[in-house]
Symmetry: C2
Subunit: 765 residues, 2 copies
């Protein structure tokens, strides 16, 4: 059945969020609950000599002060590689490491007690640069580790890039750096938990992966994962920053010591900055070779990712970065090598774009350099090399699905922002310089090979004849919850109002993976569609008994009823609901995302998540105005085109693209943790500036037609692709405006000013 609702369709949670009625995890405040808080190390690298808790314990209202010795299990957390302690015992590896956990009767007692935990530290030399960290003489982040500070290495190769480069008519080279980025979600990491009578844990938490949390908690604390119940209300943002344990293990530990009482743990904004994951800082060196006509021939790239002190998903993020090293382009020879490296910086982890944002920035800058070298239009250069169905991406994977990089570029090339750019630049007011840049990108969907990207959906016909969708993929704002209702409503020909959505809950809902990797609507949506098909068949079969219709396939599902058009008779769904026992009112089905068949013989170091089969595509035009007096760059126009299969809800797609673009603008233009030797000088939202409505123009979004046959109603995931365009397009625009070769972001006014002063364009080699 085709999607019918390509028109704007309001998310069902819009009103409840706008009015404040929606209950986020942070709104959960059981009466008489306890409060837990962590004492953080505050220094990036040290030996822990002692943690003295007596004074803190003596504070009235303090229930417990816990240290490493109080952790009953492995004390280790981590999504794949479990190297992060819940409470650090011997060594501090970054400033956000928790060394003690206090549980108290009140927030006030907690605030009094935390500074009274006396932590004796012996400062150690740290390492804060991923390239320096690979020096054998660099201080080891994990002493005794054979590989030193190298967390992982990866190589993705197609053809023979180095040989091909030596024969290229033109070769450009560059070195690039992208910074760590904070997710800056509105709702800090938080949760509420208590122990249950069966010796387990019950938790309400702001998380992107409730089912995985069970295993994290159980492994760290020595519990039975089946006895850990995790509920995940709507999140006030996540962006990858809640994909993996934040407060979960600390909170569960606190609950274990709370005698069955509820315990709340909510990070302050500062603590969230200090302890939360960041987008990996990256250093990249690229050589790109082409024919004189602009046809790309070979790419050689090396990337260093700064993982901070723990693995989190560093290896998997690097795999995706290397897989996307060649972007949405058909490059015959490509080599991408990567090093993911431990440092004493903040922890690198999942972030919308997942390694692609970094690789994409570097590659797009190289294309600009190549365009300049060959005096080609940067858009035409990209279009000429755009990967099309039947081509092979730079990881060696043949593109079988409909793919829309070229269409996105064509859409933007026809847009006034691009068409009229010279005229617009000439109209720059006094003391302003204007420039326009363009970029293209792609972003994989799903976990990739080696890690089944699966979801199980549960759909219930209620006794009243309405439907209940049990979804366990949290909605962190991207709108998948609303999409699920829309998908089911279309699949069952029912009104939206006939649906109720059960919030993710490991006891009620079924495992459906994490809310991440642009996968949730595609994967759970497909599982849900199958459950809907089962429900449809069931309803027809059960109604056929009432209607004495011996060919159930001829019955039609209509809002609230099963109808026999041959006779005009119908059975209300409420009658069917009241007739069936509970087991018969439930349909469960599942879906596992198809993977690449015959994967290329490369990337063998990557056990999980390489390569991918499905990609969404995008392109972006940014127009900037640089102030000659201050160096300040103002984004005047930002137009994004995306191809993400068929569109189920145009408004939903537009909002996702706008949100991603805003975050991409922040990445390219503003956001800076001001890291210095492992310490962030910008550690809250008054110093770490994210774009606000006043910093942004209208973020225009164009969706080009697409259709992914394997997708629910033809859709693909698109929660990430929109983030990649702005940073390189802004960089290109700034270069266009003031001649600054932007090889690192964010674009700093100081550098713009300096470039203006030098009054010349620095040309890339």
């Amino acid at each position: 059945m085709a999607a019918r609702q390509e028109q704007p369709y309001p998310h069902r949670d819009t009103l409840s969020k706008a009015t404040g009625a929606e209950r986020f995890s942070t709104d959960v405040a059981p009466p008489e609950c306890l409060f837990a808080g962590a004492r953080r190390a505050g220094v990036p690298c040290a030996r822990i000599l002692a943690v003295r808790t007596d004074e803190a314990r003596a504070v009235p209202g303090v229930v417990a002060v816990l240290t490493r010795a109080d952790v009953p299990g492995s004390n280790r957390q981590g999504i794949v590689h479990k190297d992060q302690p819940v409470l650090a015992g011997e060594r501090v590896r970054h400033a956000g490491d928790a060394v003690a956990l206090v549980v108290a009767e009140s927030r006030e007692a907690l605030a009094l007690a935390l500074p009274l935990v006396r932590v004796e530290l012996e400062p150690l030399p740290g390492v804060f640069d991923p390239l320096q960290a690979l020096d054998p003489k660099a201080p080891p982040v994990h002493p005794g580790r054979e590989e030193g500070n190298l967390l992982s290495h990866g190589l993705v190769e197609k053809g023979d890039a180095r040989a091909a480069l030596s024969g290229c008519e033109v070769v450009v080279e560059g070195e690039f750096a992208t910074p760590m980025q904070d997710h800056a979600f509105l709702e800090p990491a938080n949760g509420t938990a208590r122990t249950t009578r069966d010796g387990g844990i019950e938790m309400v938490v702001s998380t992107q992966a409730p089912f995985r949390d069970r295993f994290e908690i159980a492994h760290a604390l020595g519990l039975d994962p089946m006895r850990v119940r995790v509920r995940a209300p709507y999140l006030g943002g996540g962006f990858g920053g809640k994909d993996g344990a934040t407060v979960q293990c600390l909170l569960a530990l606190a609950a274990l010591k709370a005698g069955g009482r509820w315990v709340r743990m909510c990070l302050s904004r500062e603590e969230n900055f200090l302890s939360g994951y960041k987008r990996h800082g990256a250093r990249m060196r690229l050589r790109l070779g082409a024919a004189r006509d602009g046809r790309l021939v070979a790419l050689d790239s090396v990337m260093h990712l700064d993982s901070g002190p723990y693995a989190h998903l560093g290896t998997e993020i690097m795999a995706l970065a290397l897989e996307h090293a060649g972007g949405p382009y058909d490059i015959p020879h490509a080599r991408a090598e990567g090093f993911c490296v431990y440092t004493n910086n903040p922890v690198g982890g999942a972030f919308r774009g997942f390694g692609v944002a970094q690789a994409s920035f570097a590659l797009e800058r190289m294309l600009d350099a190549l365009a300049e070298r060959l005096s080609l239009d940067p858009a035409r250069l990209r279009l000429k090399n755009a990967l099309r169905t039947g081509g092979t991406n730079s990881a060696g994977v043949a593109v079988e699905s409909p793919t829309g990089a070229a269409q996105c570029l064509e859409a933007l090339m026809a847009h006034p922002a691009w068409q009229g750019r010279e005229e617009w630049k000439r109209a720059a007011p006094a003391f302003k310089r204007r420039g326009v840049g363009i970029s293209a990108c792609c972003n994989a969907m799903g976990y990739g090979r080696g890690l089944p990207d699966a979801a199980a959906a549960k759909l219930e016909l209620t006794r009243a004849g309405t439907f209940r969708i049990y979804n366990s993929v949290p909605d962190m704002g991207q709108g998948n919850a609303a999409a699920f209702v829309q998908i089911a409503a279309q699949a069952l020909d029912q009104e939206i109002s006939a649906f109720e959505l059960v919030e993710p809950d490991t006891r009620l809902c079924l495992p459906a993976g994490s809310s991440s990797a642009s996968r949730s609507t595609y994967t759970f949506g497909n599982a849900l569609l199958r459950a809907c098909a089962s429900m449809r068949a069931k309803l027809a079969a059960r109604a056929s008994l009432v209607l004495l219709a011996d060919e159930p396939a001829r019955l039609r599902l209509a809002p609230g009823a099963v109808v026999d058009d041959a006779t005009g008779r119908f059975v209300p769904l409420s009658m069917i609901g009241s007739m069936l026992q509970r087991d018969d009112r439930i349909c469960v089905d599942q879906f596992v995302m198809p993977v690449v068949q015959d994967p290329p013989k490369t990337g063998e170091e990557f056990r999980l998540g390489f390569p991918h089969r499905f990609f969404s595509h995008g392109a972006c035009v940014c127009a900037v105005e640089a102030d000659e007096l201050t160096g300040q760059v103002e984004l005047k126009e930002c137009v994004t085109a995306v191809e993400c299969g068929r569109v189920l809800n145009a408004q939903g797609v537009e909002r996702q693209v706008q949100g991603a673009a805003a975050q991409g603008v922040g990445f390219g233009l503003m956001e800076d943790l001001c890291l210095e030797d492992g310490r962030m000088r910008a550690g809250d939202l008054t110093t770490y500036l994210v774009p606000t409505a006043r910093d942004l123009p209208d973020l225009e979004c164009h969706v080009v037609d697409g259709d992914e046959p394997s997708g629910p109603y033809g859709l693909k995931g698109m929660g990430e692709v929109g983030i990649h365009g702005p940073a390189p397009a802004i960089a290109g625009a700034v270069q266009d405006a003031v001649g600054l070769c932007v090889d690192s972001i964010p674009v700093e006014p100081e550098r713009v000013l300096q470039a203006l002063r030098e009054n010349r364009k620095r040309v890339l080699p």
Copy 2:
């Protein structure tokens, strides 16, 4: 997947039944339960003047004596047409009518009280012959009924039989009668019930249709059917006699007056004979026309069925009889007209064969007559006219499925019993005459058009990793329960021991229709196969998460585990069972039997159950020896061939055919209720003689290859087809032996003796 188990395979309930460990409904005896019994009218037709209960009530231990006035609901029962009172109030319509119900603390008190219920009756003239009952002057069974004693009329026509007959080269005619037959199941109708706290009824009862019972009880007594719970353990036989309410409504009524205590009601053998349904007595008149070479041209048949005083399934049984009037033969012109008629005889109702046994007897006798008239071999005559795929049956339905009448006949024609018959007959000992007869037949499967033949199957993966099948199609001895386990075991590649079968229970199991109409293994089996496919997909998908196998389709289900052959790793089912929540351990699916597309424009009076799409086929050779001195006929050999699609369990098929053949032998040779004006002179098992092991030769069974693509593993239902062969084959054999034209059954020694004395063969016209 193909069936692998065509070899004998013992039913799982064999041992428990042989040792007496199996608990039938009649074994349910809760402590301190009450006992209920009905006072039956004992006369076939009367006006009820009064039912005086004072004396009965005064018996110590009597809890209640109930009459018509105590029935809270409609007081009407009946599967389709609800015309049978639970307790007769104004009129007695047959001798088994219940006029009062006594509930007592003990069997003794019950036995004392029942005769003390004083029933004042005014005898009325009754009607006991279905042809006479149609006389407008006949006493009405249901006074005031516009149609008089005609319950229903039906006409099934193909071509123009009467015109065609007038042009036939040869026409034979005959009139036939078949008697009422008692099911004579071992376990009489019985059950145990109590009221529940929610105002409902809980009942354990010997029934073929637990889900339908809920509606019967609820309608009769004014209850909510969803609050009636019916459990159906293995039956000690049913054969159609427990398809419809027996004790159900009376027992539920007793429970309503028992204050929450359990009440038992178990009919005595005599009461079961008196009140139980019987196979409809039939009177048939046929004219069969053929070409001189034996090719059948036209059949004109008229049938009168004796419904007794209530409809039960009379109309539907007549529909099946008329549909089968032309048997498994291709007859260009066929007309079958039927009248189902009320009388004051015992109630006619469902019985294995369901109208087909009657029609089949008459038609086969006509074929013998035609063979004799044309001096043709009776087997060759049948084979010449056997219906084949691509032909059209006498109801005008094109035969699309593989069909095996010819193969059955060929198998028997090659059998020594037929090949060597002349030699065997010549070897008859002194004072014995020998004869051999042959017959062919077919029997529809399923409810037929107009009544969805549906089943829902529920399959559970237990926490321990075994499987639980929730089946609601009772097993009355035919072995469907064992077949379901075998089907699921094959479908899931598990050992038989990994399965547990939940007995039919309307609270735990899902509606799957009745155990009747040769449908149960086909329909529930198909639903179960679908549930197994869901389970298989679920297990692979869930295991893929543990094995990190991103292509679940490549995982293999093995006994107790899901295996990844690529790596040799596996996940025990016990691990999956312990991981999943209950809703995820259950698979439900359903199946609705396909129906005839483009049904012929005939049989329009039949709203339900006409026509059918699938048929099983059979043929039978019987060899008899008649005693010249006593007229006694001894069956010396009985060979049945059947075609019923693919065979799942050869032993199960053989046992079903043997059981059916034995019942067919009883029908043809022995069983006689000795009805006289509505009263049975033979009303127990010492007077109503059914064949015992001493009366029967080995009942040989040959199964010819078949394959029904829509069936589970290619099978078709075959619980009934084996019953039709013996009666006409015995009749033919007796005629062959002693020259008696057997136009009615059972074959009485008196008539054989008389024929021997007349010493001549009476030739059919």
